[in-house]
């Protein structure tokens, strides 16, 4: 019987291949007595979803727009009964066939599912009360859904050394070997920090030689945390540091909010994905007790001033015939991306922009210019950030960045703080950022999405290079969701070739192209480590594999840009004032000292 089933399956697959992807015929099958038609190549799980039959899953994850499909079929929670087949089939990895009859809820299926779960839980800590993932944990959810009341199996529980880096905490005792993190780290991000090691009971996902993440090639992008279904991979929380700082009367505590946070924070309070909550977020931060609430968008405008000056400098020298000038210039706002090229593209360390990231530019300006302005000694000024990102935590801790930023929390952590403080987020009245470090333009806000940094830079570079005023500031050719994009923007009579990649796997593709001689003749490249850019960062509310959520967040970012009266960084009055009164001009010695950095090769495994 099994053989017959495989034959039918193979024939179906072959037929689909012949027909090609666009003309795929629909397949009719029956699930739990209901008939459904789905395109050939779909899985039983997909078909069931169409019928609103929610088969529980643990290891399965399909992030359609980011090439990420974890089809390990290793957890066996999603098993179903297929008529004519002896053994139960994992619905996530079983393709549909014509006339297939599937049962997802027979006593045999329910029993198998329960046994699988019991075995899994028998080797899992039961400390849900104090687990960071409690409430978001898939294992907890499935256990509740299956009504589990006892674990009949007792046995050895695996224990591993906990690994706490500045960004990510690994507690592999909680790992259920779904291997989503490994798929993300290798197939999507191409970082290669994680792999399944050992065998049998000792098998676990770990780094090479089981070193700590800090000694591995990990970039702290946090995408592994974003897909971990349990509490094995979590962020290094800093909410308690924030609470202590706020409670200290000697400290002036200021906070900056990254562009992508406002487009996602609302999800933690039940709002529709893509709801902009800028004003409510500012109000909540003020209620939490921050002395001043500022915007990383301001620092993003500052980044554009420095980065576009660098681009113009390199381009001018290039056009003047200097053959040694380092082109294309690569953006350097993304700390996971910086970690990636410091570790894996050490021969290209001279091409990224030397501009610090907006978070760090903010810190540097806050602890000098602003501290002087409000007359607070540097040591009494605490600079906190809320970021969509886990790598930002590591970045703030980099030695050469002088602790300009003291503590970093993620979007998720901010939501926790707001909930702990009994603030009814949804009923807050909108409030405005404080001045001057809260003043920003539309160019600053689009830093939060793939394509945004380079669009912002183009708006400024265009005007500086041509001396003309840019009428149409929307560069639609730079927007989108494809992993690698290229566009040519005419700047006067010069054609500026721009490359964009999001997701480190796509970044690798583009970097290898540069290493091979830059055949497409790119002048500037924007890279963001996370799929979708910062809107899909490792510190954002969990999107559970729904790429539509990322698109809604992206749309929100562009809406915020459109709403701004000023949409070019160099027209930000607070930025103009900062240069007039403090920095002089972009790339001045003072600007280089405060706003630029250098990269070091990092040899890690």
């Amino acid at each position: 019987m099994v053989h017959v089933w495989i034959d039918v399956n193979l024939r179906q697959l072959l037929e689909n291949n012949v027909k090609g992807c666009n003309t795929m015929a629909d397949i009719k099958l029956t699930i739990d007595g209901k008939v459904v038609e789905v395109p050939a190549g779909s899985t039983v799980l997909d078909a069931a979803k169409k019928l609103d039959i929610h088969i529980p899953t643990l290891c399965h994850l399909d992030l359609h727009d980011t090439k990420m499909v974890n089809k390990a079929a290793s957890c066996r929670i999603c098993v179903v009964e297929v008529e004519g087949r002896n053994n139960l089939a994992p619905s996530c990895a079983t393709p549909v066939t014509e006339g297939m009859v599937v049962t997802t809820n027979s006593p045999r299926v329910l029993n198998a599912r329960k046994v699988v779960l019991e075995l899994m839980v028998s080797d899992h800590p039961k400390d849900c009360l104090i687990c960071e993932q409690s409430g978001n944990c898939s294992l907890q959810y499935v256990s509740k859904k299956l009504g589990m009341r006892e674990v009949r199996f007792e046995g050895k529980e695996s224990t591993y050394k906990p690994d706490k880096s500045k960004s990510i905490v690994r507690d592999m005792d909680k790992c259920i070997m779904c291997r989503r993190c490994e798929t993300m780290c290798n197939d999507v991000q191409s970082v290669g920090a994680l792999s399944g090691i050992n065998r049998g009971f000792d098998a676990v996902v770990s780094t090479a030689f089981e070193v700590d993440l800090s000694e591995s090639v990990c970039t702290y992008c946090g995408q592994c945390v974003a897909v971990c279904p349990v509490g094995a991979l979590t962020e290094a929380e800093q909410t308690n540091d924030i609470i202590s700082a706020l409670a200290n009367p000697e400290k002036t505590v200021i906070i900056q909010t990254a562009p992508a946070v406002r487009a996602a924070l609302g999800e933690e309070f039940g709002l529709e994905p893509g709801t902009l909550v800028t004003g409510k977020m500012v109000a909540a931060l003020r209620e939490l007790g921050f002395d001043y609430v500022f915007d990383t968008d301001f620092a993003a405008d500052l980044t554009i001033m420095e980065e576009s000056a660098e681009l113009i400098d390199r381009l001018t020298r290039f056009l003047d015939g200097d053959k040694d000038v380092a082109l294309p210039i690569l953006t350097s706002c993304c700390p996971a991306w910086v970690n990636f090229f410091e570790g894996q593209f050490q021969d290209l360390l001279d091409i990224p922009s030397s501009a610090k990231s907006p978070q760090q530019m903010f810190g540097a300006i806050a602890k000098t210019y602003y501290a002087e302005k409000i007359n607070v000694p540097r040591e009494n000024l605490v600079v906190a950030s809320v970021m969509p990102c886990l790598a930002k935590k590591y970045e703030a801790d980099r030695e050469e960045l002088n602790q300009d930023v003291d503590m970093v929390i993620s979007t998720r952590e901010l939501a926790k703080l707001i909930k702990q403080a009994n603030i009814d987020f949804n009923s807050l009245e909108d409030e405005e950022y404080d001045q001057p470090l809260g003043e920003s333009t539309g160019a600053g806000v689009i830093f939060g999405t793939t394509g945004g940094v380079i669009e912002a830079a183009t708006r400024t570079a265009y005007e500086k290079l041509t001396g003309e005023s840019l009428e149409k500031v929307d560069f639609h050719e730079l927007r989108g969701f494809e992993g690698v994009r290229a566009a040519t923007v005419p700047v006067g009579d010069f054609d500026l070739n721009i490359g964009i990649a999001h997701g480190l796997g796509n970044a690798r593709e583009l970097l290898e192209e540069i290493r091979d001689g830059n055949p497409r003749n790119f002048h500037a490249i924007e890279i963001m480590a996370c799929p979708g850019g910062c809107i899909g960062g490792g510190g954002q509310p969990y999107h559970g594999g729904d790429a539509e959520i990322l698109k809604k967040r992206q749309a929100a970012i562009y809406t915020e840009d459109e709403r701004k009266t000023i949409r070019k960084s160099h027209e930000n009055p607070a930025i103009i004032e900062l240069y007039e009164n403090y920095l002089g001009e972009p790339m001045s010695p003072k600007a280089i000292e405060l706003l630029h950095t250098a990269y070091e090769p990092k040899d890690r495994v």
Binding site: N186, V191, G192, A193, L194, S195, G196, I197, N198, R199, S206, T207, A208, F209, S216, V217, V605
Partner: protein, 164 residues
């Protein structure tokens, strides 16, 4: 071999041999296990540095190299002793008391399975059926086979053979 310079020369030669082997492969894709076999043949074991070398040379993340090395029991990260001892733990040997023999070796040498004595003389491993079930329980020292080993005295006799 006691001077550092000569030791370095020997090691350099080993890396060269491994490097030449990898370069001679028509396609590096899917060759990780073959390369690790070769590396273990050359170095005797697969220390961290060799795994990093293999990863870089094959353009494979070192984590994945380590994943394969830690998965297959044939690969070892411990240097083997001058006289590698392997005790058959296959069914026939096991029912005839290979576990007891293993314990005798462990106590006599003061090491666990998979370890090597501090002086580098003996290493101890378990292996599966060598096809000499008639001689069960079987112990191998290097290529030499010892059959029907059942007592502590016999274990001591074997070890005495390798007194320098």
């Amino acid at each position: 071999m006691s001077c550092t310079t000569c030791k370095n020369e020997v090691v350099d030669k080993m890396y060269q041999e491994l490097s030449d082997y990898i370069d001679s492969l028509p396609d590096k894709k899917g060759m990780l296990i073959a390369v690790l076999h070769k590396a273990q043949e050359i170095f005797g074991y697969l220390p961290r540095e060799v795994q990093v070398f293999v990863g870089r040379k094959l353009d494979i993340p070192v984590s994945q190299v380590y994943g394969v090395v830690s998965f297959y029991s044939f690969f070892t990260m411990e240097p083997k002793g001058k006289y590698p001892i392997a005790i058959c733990l296959g069914t026939a040997c096991y029912v005839r008391g290979a576990d007891k023999i293993t314990d005798y070796f462990k106590t006599e040498l003061g090491i666990e399975l998979g370890e090597t004595t501090e002086d580098g003389k003996f290493s101890l491993d378990g292996l599966r059926c060598v096809g000499a079930c008639g001689l069960a329980p079987v112990v191998l020292v290097g290529e030499k086979v010892y059959g029907r080993i059942t007592t502590l005295d016999q274990v001591r006799e074997i070890l005495a053979e390798y007194e320098d």
